[in-house]
């Protein structure tokens, strides 16, 4: 599966631990399709980064932790010479790779999933929960609701309906902090995996009569929730989901029940973003597109894959500035680059990615770099952004990460780096 232009002298290798089958396969297809298309786009459009070609190899995990580790080990030796960031798009696999990747000096990107306290780069030098995390996202959603309610949430009731797994539980700590800060009542309702039956939960929500439902679903749980909300006549425009509940794949199967539903996202959808349209022209024009089904171009998850690739390639660019233009980066060098990203709106504009994703500036003590999301609403045919970039309450949330990272360091006997000395 190596890019055909593999003859060039220098190659930047991307190990892709991906998934395209199984319960979440269609999510993976769109995301990794976008990711690979952008790598090829860089190769075709500008002959790689300063002449360095982007190459990749895929390994199918089926969203299974053990297979993810096998894939990692398989791709690891190929990534010894040069490596871009790893994207697993699975919280479970990311967790399993945290220690290994640090040992092997391969940077692990976890964009909107994975171990969130890795925001504290002093303890997790090789793990990057880039752009934003579950907790910051939950905080941003609360902020959005607060703004809608005239800046006051006191006495309101918010239901948190979540997938009963590591993924769903991550946000609780942030929501509890927000609840005591903003004096609203938080009702937590877990849904057992896979979540294809939510009758009881929604009857309970009906009984509780909340002002809003914050919703953390995954896979079939998303459509089921929308349908079940319709079943108890709960207004969908009072439901706000996380970014794993806000793709076309999540709402289309629910049909009309999804109309008016809102979800957070850290990238916008659509082909109006210049770079997405250009990818379709350049990559698919050359017959090198990764997607079989071209209708996925411009969907939320496709664009998310492109965003992830944009960040990764920008990191390569940044790294080459330090370690030599026209040279492939090792994992260690890519790590430095990821820690020193500074992608401004001007830079995004130059890339044709205006507003595709928020500005990002990372550092040793902030591996997140942004913490911003947009809220978008499904109008029955497409996702429409209904807010600007909203930043979560950093002062409230980031100390939680540091405390958690500190505990991890203690358990593992890690001596945190001194971030003031990192350059």
């Amino acid at each position: 599966m190596l890019s055909s232009a593999a003859m060039a002298a220098e190659e930047q290798f991307f190990p892709l631990i991906d998934y395209r089958v199984g319960p979440y396969g269609s999510n993976g297809q769109a995301f990794y399709g976008g990711f690979i298309d952008y790598l090829n786009y860089v190769n075709l459009k500008e002959k790689g980064v300063n002449g360095v070609q982007m190459t990749y190899e895929e390994c199918e995990t089926e969203y299974n932790n053990a297979k993810g580790v096998e894939c990692y080990e398989r791709l690891k030796s190929k990534a010894a010479k040069s490596a871009g960031p790893l994207h697993t798009m699975s919280t479970g696999i990311s967790y399993a790779l945290i220690d290994k990747s640090a040992q092997d000096k391969l940077p692990l990107a976890m964009m909107g999933y994975g171990r969130t306290d890795a925001v504290d780069g002093s303890v997790f030098p090789y793990a990057f929960p880039l752009v934003t995390t579950y907790q910051m996202q939950a905080s941003a959603i609360v902020k959005f609701i607060k703004d809608k309610n005239g800046g006051n949430l006191a006495g309101k009731k918010i239901v948190y309906l979540y997938h009963d797994s590591a993924y769903g539980k991550e946000a609780i700590i942030a929501l509890e902090a927000e609840a005591s800060l903003n004096k609203f009542t938080l009702v937590q309702i877990p849904v057992a995996h896979p979540g294809n039956e939510q009758g009881a939960q929604w009857l309970k929500i009906r009984q509780e009569k909340p002002d809003f439902v914050i919703f953390w679903g995954w896979g079939v749980m998303n459509q089921t929730a929308l349908k079940a909300a319709q079943k108890v006549a709960f207004p969908r425009d009072k439901m706000i989901g996380s970014w794993w509940t806000g793709s076309e794949e999540d709402v289309v199967p629910a049909g009309d029940a999804a109309k008016g539903y809102m979800a957070a996202t850290w990238n916008v959808s659509g082909k109006q973003v210049p770079v997405i349209a250009d990818i379709e022209n350049v990559v698919y024009g050359a017959g090198k597109g990764n997607l079989q089904d071209k209708t996925k171009i411009g969907t939320i998850l496709y664009n998310r894959g492109v965003s992830a690739a944009v960040l990764s390639v920008e990191a390569i660019r940044k790294g080459q500035e330090k370690y030599g233009k026209g040279k492939a980066l090792t994992g260690e060098q890519t790590r430095w680059a990821l820690e020193n990203l500074n992608i401004t709106d001007a830079r995004l504009k130059a890339l044709g990615a205006t507003d595709l994703l928020p500005e990002i500036k990372t550092s040793c003590d902030n591996h997140e770099g942004s913490g911003k999301v947009k809220i978008q609403q499904w109008d029955g045919a497409k996702w429409v952004p209904v807010s600007g970039w909203i930043e979560g309450n950093k002062a409230l949330i980031h100390p939680l990460f540091q405390a958690s990272a500190k505990q991890y360091a203690k358990e593992k006997g890690i001596t945190p780096r001194d971030c003031s000395k990192e350059k």
């Binding site: 199984g22 269609s26 009881a200 939960q201 459509q223 079943k231 089904d293």
Partner: protein, 304 residues
Amino acid sequence: MNFFLEVLIGGLLSGVMYALVALGFVMIYKASGVFNFAQGAMVYLAALSVVGCIEQGAPLWLAIILAFIIMTLFGIATEKFVLRKLVNQPPIALFMATIGLAFFIEGIAPMVFGSDPRALELGIVDEPLPWVMDNWNMVISKFDLVAAGVAGVLVATLALFFQYTRIGRALRAVADDHQAALSIGIPLQHIWAIVWGVAGFVALVAGMMWGARNGVQFALTFTALKALPVLILGGFTSVPGAIIGGLIIGASEKLAEIYIPPVMQDLFGGNFGGIEGWFPYVLALLFLLVRPEGLFGEKHIDRV
């Protein structure tokens, strides 16, 4: 009280949905003694075929017929190429073969029809009945009522089919005793092919109902997990058992999800919701301790 009734009725109606899937298991187990693990995958295949045919431009009724043909052919092929070769093997080998079959379907169905989750519109909106809502302030879903009706019709049809047709009688004979059925000249293999066809039909009905409810996607295969406790409770060999088991499981699971976690929360602190995953199994297990063959299962007599 209102709320209790609402949960109870909602639970009973979801139970019907579970029973729809469980019926497919019962059909095959009854006739051939095979615990067909691939039933969930067959539900997925059936729903995918309907959606796939609609995407190719077929109207809904034609898509259903085409899907039925696909399921029947699939059932016949399964019998011919897999089960017939495993005659006289221990049940666990047959069980395992159906697990292989499940993988096979899970790989090939999305290859043919695409793996994106899609909507299946049957023209029934899943909304509360306005009349009940206004008068009693209770939520009773239109869609669930239709599903219950469909299940009723399905069971009635199956009952008539078994009771009054030649094939139906032959099926019952085979279910009672393979050897005896063979000896009076019932072609065992044809019968098994028919049974798989019928199970395919049941899967089609279940697939359309679940597909219309939650979207047509890979997770339809998980519906089997909801059907298993129903099966144990109702007995592997009983059609009415599947329906009644479904109702019991559906209702108790919903009531438990509402009323047990708060009690546990008082006892231990913390949030104990999300018990739907295991509650039906534990319930079925406790029930089995009293009646080891399920509600309507055949009593098994051991002879040494």
